[in-house]
Every structure is written in C-alpha cells, then in structure tokens.
Symmetry: C2
Subunit: 676 residues, 2 copies
C-alpha cells in the first residue's frame, strides 16, 4: 500500500481525533478466510495510519471490538438482534454496541468486510463509533464496474493513464495495484468487476483459454478476498477464433457444446467465476445476428453453459445501426435498444441480465432515461452508467456525476404506476428480477491518482455508494468523500461541495445545449465540433439549420420515439408545451426564437448558458484558489492543472457554439457580448 495522498483516494486514514484510540487496541476477528485476512490487513493499516497503534488482532470474545459472523458470535447478541440478522441479505450487516462491546456481524465474511469499512468511514468522518447502532444491507444485488482495459495496456475511453491490469500485451506481474483497487471497490460496496474491454480484440479472445486463465485466476483471487466477483468480457465468435469452428451460431449443437466445455474449463480454474459480459452485434462486434438468431438465442446459449456453476450472462443492450446514412431521417438511434430488446421479453434465461445504458444514446451530459429500463417485466435488467467521463470532460474538466445518476435513479417510469422509479426497478422491487443492479464503466488507470483529475475520484466513490444505497443524496456523498479525502476543515468541505455540486450543470452549460448532445470532436469526444457528427454514420444529429434545431421524436411528425415511454411520460415528452426545457431539443425541432419555459428564447438560452458556463468555470477556479492553503501540493497542482484545461475547453465550447449558432441564426445576442 502506497502512501501518497493522491493514490490513497478516500482511504487516507488521517488522524481525525484521538477519541477512540484506546478502544481499538484489541480487535477480535473470528475468522480466517481470505476476506477475514483482508479485514485484518485493513484494520492494521488504518489504525496504524490514524492512531499510530498496532492493534492486537485476536479471537477474544471479550475484546472491545468483535468482528464475526453470526454463527461464531451468537452468544454475544440478544434475541432481537439475532432476528434482525436472520432477515438480512448475505451482504447485510449489523453494527451494535452491546454493553460497551462493539459488535460487527452478519451472515458472511463479506458482510463483515462491509461493516468494517463502514466503521472506518465513520472514524474518518470524525464520528464516535463506540455507540454505533446500524443495520444495513445493499439495495442492489449486482454492484459492478466494467474495465474497458486492453491487453496492450491501453484503456478504451480511459483518461487516467494506462491499464493497471495489463501492459505491453501481458497481464501485469506486480498485482499490488490491483489489490489496492479491490480495497477501494470493496470500501464502497462494489461486488463485481469485469476486467477486460467489452470490445474483445484478437488476443483478448484467448482470455478464456489456458493461456491466460492461470493468471486471471490470480486476479480473481485478489478480488475474491475483497468480496468482488470477477467477470470476463467475451468474444461471441470465440468458437471460431479459438478453435476454428466454422460457425458461432448459438443454435448449432457443436457451438453449444463448445461453450459448455469452455465454461467447465473456466470454472476448473476459477470456481467462483462470475460469468460473461457480452457486447454482441454492436459496433461491428460479432453476435447472433450473423446467423439469423436473436439476442435471446445468443445469451441463452451462454446462460445454459454457465447455469450449473451459478454463472451469469450480462448482455449489453447497446445495439444500434452504426452505419446509418445521415440523409435518412426515419432511422432513430434512440429507438434502437427498445426496438431490439422489448419484443424479446420473457425469452431470456433467469441467469441472463440485460445491461442497459442510462440513456438511449450514449452517456451524453443530458439525455432522457432509457425507456427500455423497466419495460421488460420478465427479463433481468441492470442500468449502466459511465464513471469514465467520455462525453463529460474526460477527467480534465470537472463533472461530478452523482447528481446526474441520481436524476436517472429517481426517474419515475410509471411502468407500474406512480413510484416505479429506475431505482426501484434495478433494485428488483418493481418486477421480480432474480438478478439486477448497476454496472458502470470505470474511470481508473495507472496515473498516481487513479483518475486523472483527483476530483474525479469522487465519481468512483459516489458510484459505489449509490449502488449500495441509491437513497443517499448527492450532497451527502460529496461531503463524505471530501471529508475522507481532504479532511474536515469547514471551508474545504463547504467550498469543495459547492464546486462538485455545481459542476455537472456548468459542464452542461458550456457544451451541447438543451439535451441535443454530441457536437464533440469525432473519435476523441473531447472539445467542440458542432457538425462533427452531423454528416456521419453514427445516428447522432442535431439538424440545425437557419430556422431552428432539434430532433423531432414525436409520434405525430417525428420518429415516434416518445411512444416508447409509458404514460404520462410519453405525453410529457411528446408535447412540446410540457417537454422539460433541458430535454427540449432531444424531443423536438424548434425555431431559434421558440420560447422556453424559462422565458428565454432557445437562441438566447444558448448564448446565455455558454457565456455563463465559461464564467462559472472561472468562478470554480476562484473558489478552488480560496482553499489552496488547505490542500497538499501534489493534489493542489493536479487539480489546478485540470482546471486550466477546463477553462481552455470551456472557452472553445463557448465561442464555437455561440459563433456557430449566431452565423446560422443571424440573431443577435440581447446583451451584445462578443461572438466571433
């Protein structure tokens, strides 16, 4: 474990106060599993760091702190407490003070690990933990991160250096950084990881063979010791690529047999293997369409092979026509996931989970919520977020994403009447999903600070916390993260909370307006290029002309996408008078002089938000400067550099967007500010 402040993220374990120091001198850990070893190691590290003490780790039931699963310590609990634990899920825990003794318990060692991180978090937040009385369980079964890492060491859409898993075509030999990553994931409740890019290239196809499985098992073991189950992204055409079969048709016997034998082989190496993540028939990846089969056929074949081992198939729904003709206005990429998958509801095996991006397009700063989420009553689903800031500033620009995700999670689909929010759907509370939850593309790499911009650590932290408890407020998560990461100084806490909480709206202000999205530099996706995707094959258009802008997705005159929503959302979006301003251009094509609910015209809104967006970045930087003295030099320098990049980026966005729309609309800015 390293000790740089950047590297340590939210597990700084700085001394907050000496209050409970003596309390920690002896800790009983009543287990010897690999997870228990992680617990002991974390306690030793944390207590040494915070209190400069080396605790006695014992099995003494009389210790001031006792950590053990229920069957080991039931003698220390009363009847009510035992009942509580009986009702808890496998990962849930009880923390309680019984007659001066702090007890951390649950049904499994994994539950204990979460309990320990809970207590350590409380200590870092400066709270008195001796009298804690907490019962917690995760709201979601699957709490996953996806690494988009390649064997050559690159990370697709990575903005934090290279992979911590691979370098130069090999799995890294020194796996200590992987272990640290596992710690961080466990500390916020993540329990699953896929360790290779969903685009599975030639050599990565062999990850499921004996060439790589021994070393992948080592990685799986590391994650296992932190309660994180390992998954692999697979190439649907593996039978062809690996063993020269002449087909990968999921309904052909030899293919099914091949996968069954392959899965058996994998489980011989890794008995606790999680399963497969699959990007099929998407952006030129192979899939069942090649053989005239559908996604149910494809995923069920894999599911059948995995079922005997309790393995799962996580099947991505990011399927659309990526060779669209820009001249063709009848094809609407936003419709694609729903159109492809909804008709297949009920056809998927019970160990298949569909992974659906939060919006219908692709992780834009503002999108409506995907209408597919919750629309399949009989098919397991999970939502996919992107912690990696592909379209939201690439960890140069600050964009604290928790408010965006909260916005998604709180969205009421009305699929089963009022209150059927995304949060409840992916928790499996609306339809009776066997598996469901959240997945997200990770934002980490081998930069010293893991995330490029140190402030982007908050997104990884917050994502984890939300997977466990989506009810947490974005502000609460921000405060938790700031205090653990930068200490409890009031001015730091207040200033950084403001900085984080404002950042999403600021980023939205200076980039693509009113839900239209895109307008980014092709390929890199950083910086403005208003027409960058306008005449392309990607289905991502704004249709700006001299009169107006926006995509008509209404039922009457547009692509009919709005019909994919339940009432009343369908009406809300379909009707220009009720469509929320921030999504207006996603759903409607309007004249530049159309008046928003805000009272401004669309064009004046564009000008105003772009001028103010840039000014807000300047203000972020000014605020940041006020707390300079309280931030250590490496982190101050890193964050300041990123702010400088953001300022340059915001200026380009401001001026290009304003100039583009001024040239196109010919309408003057009411305030006569400089447009080029």
């Amino acid at each position: 474990m390293q000790t740089s402040t950047m590297y340590n993220m939210w597990l700084q374990y700085k001394i907050v106060n000496e209050n409970n120091k003596d309390f920690w001198r002896e800790v009983a850990v009543l287990s010897n599993s690999c997870i228990a070893r992680s617990i002991k190691e974390e306690l030793r590290f944390a207590l040494n760091s915070m209190y400069k003490i080396a605790p006695d780790i014992t099995t003494n039931h009389q210790a001031k702190i006792v950590i053990g699963v229920i069957k080991e310590i039931s003698g220390l609990l009363n009847g009510k407490q035992k009942e509580i634990i009986a009702d808890l899920p496998e990962e849930g825990y009880l923390i309680t003070n019984n007659q001066g003794q702090l007890i951390l318990t649950g049904k499994t060692d994994k539950a204990l690990l979460y309990a320990v991180f809970h207590v350590l978090r409380e200590v870092q937040l400066g709270n008195d933990v001796t009298s804690l009385n907490v019962v917690e369980g995760p709201k979601n079964i699957l709490r996953m991160v996806n690494q988009w890492d390649n064997l050559d060491g690159s990370v697709e859409r990575g903005y934090s250096g290279n992979s911590i898993f691979y370098e130069n075509g090999e799995i890294v030999k020194d796996k200590s950084r992987i272990r640290d990553y596992a710690r961080f994931l466990a500390s916020v409740g993540i329990n699953a990881i896929s360790i290779n890019n969903v685009n599975v290239w030639e050599e990565e196809t062999y990850f499921i063979t004996k060439k790589y499985l021994p070393e992948i098992k080592e990685i799986a073991d590391i994650f296992k010791s932190y309660g994180v189950t390992l998954y692999l992204s697979i190439n649907f055409a593996s039978p062809i690529a690996i063993d020269g079969l002449d087909t990968a048709d999921p309904l052909v016997d030899k293919v099914r047999k091949w996968w069954k034998e392959k899965v058996t082989e994998i489980y011989q190496y890794i008995p606790y293997f999680g399963g497969f993540v699959v990007k099929a028939d998407s952006e030129h990846r192979p899939g069942p369409f090649t053989y005239g089969r559908d996604h149910a056929d494809g995923s069920n074949m894999l599911a059948e092979a995995l079922a005997p081992y309790n393995g799962k198939v996580i099947w991505r729904c990011f399927v659309y026509n990526c060779v669209q003709d820009w001249r063709d206005r009848s094809t609407d990429r936003a419709r694609a996931a729903y159109d492809h998958f909804k008709p297949l509801d009920g056809k998927f095996h019970e160990n298949v989970i569909l992974q659906i991006k939060n919006g219908p397009m692709d992780f834009q700063v503002r999108e409506p919520v995907s209408p597919l989420i919750g629309a399949m009553e009989h098919t397991n689903q999970m939502v996919e977020f992107q912690i990696a800031q592909e379209y939201t500033g690439q960890q140069r620009d600050l964009c604290y994403l928790i408010p965006q995700w909260k916005h998604v999670l709180k969205f009421d689909t009305h699929i089963k009447g009022e209150g059927t929010t995304i949060e409840e759907i992916v928790a499996g509370n609306v339809h009776s999903y066997k598996y469901s939850g959240l997945a997200a593309v990770s934002n980490i790499g081998n930069d010293d600070n893991w995330t490029g911009n140190t402030l982007a650590q908050a997104n990884l932290y917050g994502y984890g916390r939300l997977t466990w408890n989506p009810g947490l407020a974005a502000e609460t998560i921000a405060k938790e993260w700031i205090q653990q990461t930068f200490g409890k100084k009031e001015s730091v806490l207040k200033t950084m909370e403001e900085i984080l909480m404002d950042s999403w709206h600021i980023y939205e202000n200076y980039t693509a307006p009113l839900g239209i999205g895109w307008m980014v530099t092709p390929h890199s996706h950083y910086g403005p290029n208003i027409d960058g995707y306008e005449y392309s094959r990607w289905g991502t258009y704004h249709f700006a002309d001299r009169q107006g802008i926006g995509v008509d997705r209404t039922i009457e005159t547009g692509t009919g996408y709005t019909a994919q929503y339940e009432m009343p959302n369908q009406l809300l979006y379909n009707n220009i008078d009720t469509c929320p301003d921030e999504l207006l251009l996603f759903f409607h094509h309007v004249p530049y002089k159309y008046t928003l609910k805000s009272g401004k015209t669309v064009i004046q809104h564009i000008y105003d938000t772009h001028f103010s967006g840039y000014e807000q970045v300047e203000q972020l930087i000014s605020k940041w400067e006020t707390i300079k003295e309280h931030i250590d030099v490496p982190r101050y320098k890193n964050i300041s550099e990123r702010f400088s990049m953001q300022k340059r980026n915001a200026k380009e966005w401001r001026d290009q967007i304003n100039t583009y729309f001024y040239r196109k609309s010919g309408i003057e800015d009411e305030k006569r500010r400089t447009i080029y």
Copy 2:
C-alpha cells in the same frame, strides 16, 4: 525489371509496328560511364520487348544508330550541327539522320540518356524515328521530385502503399525498385530527387551521419546512373540532435563549423551529392526563428558549407502561423510566405533556392498563384507542385493535374510587364537566377502500379514532361501518356483523353466551391467536412454564415492580401467586379445571392456544380466502361475500383455541401433537386 502492365507505367515497350525493326539490330554506344550503362540496359530491354531482338551494342561508328557525346563523334557531324551542339546546355541533345545514320549526341552522357528516351518515346508513339531531326534542351535547370518518405516505411501524404526506399526503420536492402523509379524519372527528364520527408523526424536526422551515408550513397549511385542528383531533407537542429551542441543558431561559429564539417563528411561519401532541402520554422519544425535569426541567416549558413562542393540549399517558403486563433480575422495565412520572404530579397547566397508552393495556401484544387513567385528579383526561386493528390482526391478520385499546373505556369505576374509568366520566371528568363526550376511532391509508393490509381501515373509523367518543356499542352501530354501506357487504339486514346482532361474541373465541381478551398476532413484531407477547419488553428476558414461566404482579402476592407500582386492582377483580384468567378470566394466575402459573371448566383452555382459534379463522375465511369474491352484486366480492375470510390466520395461531397449551404442560406435550389 518487372513486366506487369501496371508496374511498367509509360515504359510498356509494347510492339507498335515492325517498321524500324532491322534498323535497331546494331546500336553504337560510345561510352562506358554509369549513365551509358543505363542507356545500354534500357535499349536492350526496350528492343527485346518491342521487337524481340537482342541488339548488338557496339562502338562501331558505322552502325545505323550511333549514340555518343560530341567529342567522340564529331567526325560524323557537319559544321552547322557542331554549332548547334555548342549552343546547347549540358542536358540538351541533337537527334539527326546523317546519310541514313541516326545520330544521338550532346555534350554529356546525361544528354544522350534523354535523347535515347526521346527516341524510344517516338517509337512507342508509332513514329518513324529513322528520319528524326530534333534539337532539344530543358527549359528548367532544376527538375526535381521530393519524396515525403519516412524511415518507418510510411509516406506522409502517400496514397500508393508504403515507401519504396524504406521499410521497418531501415533503408530497403533490395534496391531494384529504386532503380526502376530512377528510370521512370529519367525518361521524363527529372534530374533531382530528395529522398526523405521534409518533416525530418528523430531517426531520419541521422541520415547525414556515417550510420546511414554508406547506404544512401548506394541510392545516390543508382540515381546518378540515370542523371538524377540526390538531395536530403535535413533537420535544422541537427547540431543539437546529432552532436549535442547547445544551439543551432546559424550565426554561432561552432554551429557553422559543425555544418561545414558535416557537409565535408557527406561529400566524402557522395561526391556528387546535390544538397539540402529544408523545411524550417514551419509547422513546428526547428529553424532560425528560435534564435532570433531570419531565413537568410539560416539558409546562408548551410549554403556556405555546401558552396565548395557546388551543393545547393533548397529552402521551403511554406512558413505560416499554424497555431492561429480562429477568432482572429486579422491574420491571413495566404499572406505569410510573401510577408516572411519578400523583405529578404537579395540576402540569400547564390546557391540558395527558395521553393515556393504554387498557391499561397496548400495545394488546394483551386488557388490563385502565389504572389511570391517572381517577386524576389535577386533570389533564386523554384515553384513547388504536389503530384501526390493530398487535396485532390488522394489517387482514389481521378484528378489529372497537368491543366492545373499549366494554369499556374501560364499565369502572367506582370512583375516585369506583360509576359512575365511563372513559366518564364522559374526558367530564369525574367530575373537572372543562377538556379531555378520546379519541384514537386511525388505520388509514388510500393503499390504494384506505383501510384494507387493507375491513371495517376499520368500526373508523374506529365510533371516530368512539363519540367522539361512547360510549353507542352496538357492534351499533348495526355495523348503521349495514354498511347505509351495503353496503346494507340483510337477509341482508347480519345476516351481517355476526355476522361483525363475533364477530371480537374469535375473534382473542383463536387468539392469546395469558387476557390474557397478546404472543407475537408481534418488530418486525412479526404472527403468533405465543411466546418472541419473552420474553428481550428490552421488559418483555413470560409466564414460562411446565413448571409454569405468567402474571405475578404481586399485592401480596403480585408486582409490586404491582394496588394501582394503586381498591377493589374492586384486590381483584378481586389475588385469584386473583375475578380474571376473561380477565385471569387478566395478574395471576397459575398452574399449567397451575389451574381457571378456566369449569370448564376453563388448559391445556385454551388448547387449546380455539386449536382453536375456527381453526374460528371457517373459519366466518367460510363465513358470508361466503353473502352473496357481494350484494357487489360488488372488495370481495368484497379481503375474501376478507384472510380467506385470516387463516386461514393462525390456523392458525400455533393450532399454534404448542398445540405450545409441549404441549411445555412435557406435558399431553395431553383431546380428543386433533392437536398437533405
């Protein structure tokens, strides 16, 4: 020498008729220099190929054909003929029939080589050569090609495979293809070549060291045997890069000394080395500006080192601000070369030649002629063309460039009154230049047919022919090339001449209109992206808004670029009423409804040319199909594939340009054709 029709370009040596077969059975070649050996080899190859004869190559003065320099054969010539030869330049030749004996003579073996290729060309064209009576000399002293080849095997702006000079970080071992390239160059009169990219990267910097000079000498020898002098592009910062000097300041003694020693070393390896090609202070390449020196300081330092060996410095004038702010309308890239170099007139040493791109921007399909050419009375100049079709279809789309170059060469600068054309300036007939001529970026690579599109061979052929005789008509060159390359079938000749001659205007029609240029995909420069460079740092803007388009470069209201031209060109361009249509948007910003001299509005011109440009491509293809039966399969296939690519490209250009301007102007096409 290979024998594929694609590979053999215009030296097919197919039998045309048997007329002079017996005439060729004995040929006297009265020399044994390396060039004479090339002559003999070429004769053997050609005569075997055309007539299936193995000629006796003798030194018999009574042979029917005698090839020798004047001092060897003066006994065979009359007094008048001797006078003619005395007046010829070193490379000029006399071909004459004296009493049934065909004599090829001149002052040098190089002249004989050109004479031999002349006669072989006549044979291939089906002409009776026994009675030839020709006196020819090149109009230009320097007739150069620049290879933009890199040591890794790539070719910057190469569209014909990889380099024939380098692969995988090494100079190629098998140099037979380099020899063939030398043959082709010599056959059209090219006498100089630089063999590495003007952007000299890290390893290529070492070309002027003993690490590479032995093998470069081998290449130089090959070219020498075809009368082609080898030059190297150098890194201005070589003293720092190679020997760790702390400066490359051209006025510092140790730097000057370094270059003198370096040049001495080079000439020890290659006594007939041509000199240096230098891209300095351009697009981030190092140069004298770093040290507060000017281009005269920089080039003169090198010139001084080269002078004792008769070496030359070819100094490129492609110097401009490539980190311009698109918001800044006062900076005009078109002005840059003139503004940088004109004030330095007279300061350059006599072995420095300024190499000036034909237009002020960068090889667009249509540009005005660079006002710098001819503007420096006391400074050697040469014009630079680009045979490689970077902005003119990249050897996928057909663009026969000879008409464009003819247009440039015929341009009357009026610098010394009427008739001071570019052609006469670069021939050294207007100012008394010691050295001048033409250079061009080559279009060849290791594709079997050298040039990607087989039809692009015509550009290399024609460039060479023009360097020798700029008076040749584009049609004449086309006919020569077609007949040598595809035979003398009348329908082929007529159809292909039409195809070639129309192609430049067709390409112009479907791409950027009215001289505005650019609108291409950034970096690759193929395919449309109307705003691709509009908000960039490259100084290449169209300023299209809802009212109009174009760059105001007038004296009164614009950048004043027009003032760089002499009268009456200055007036012609500066005055919107006299400015030629095809350059209107280069010089003026006009409303879309501005009426051209053609009677059409600008917007209707855009629509019409783009619809017709695409139709013309279809017609090209139809014409091409009519001669299918007369073309061998490999070449038919290659050219047909390229036409298909061109058709797709033209469609994208048509639709994107029309859509962009329709959306921006809101003006309907008069003919109501489909705009998206």
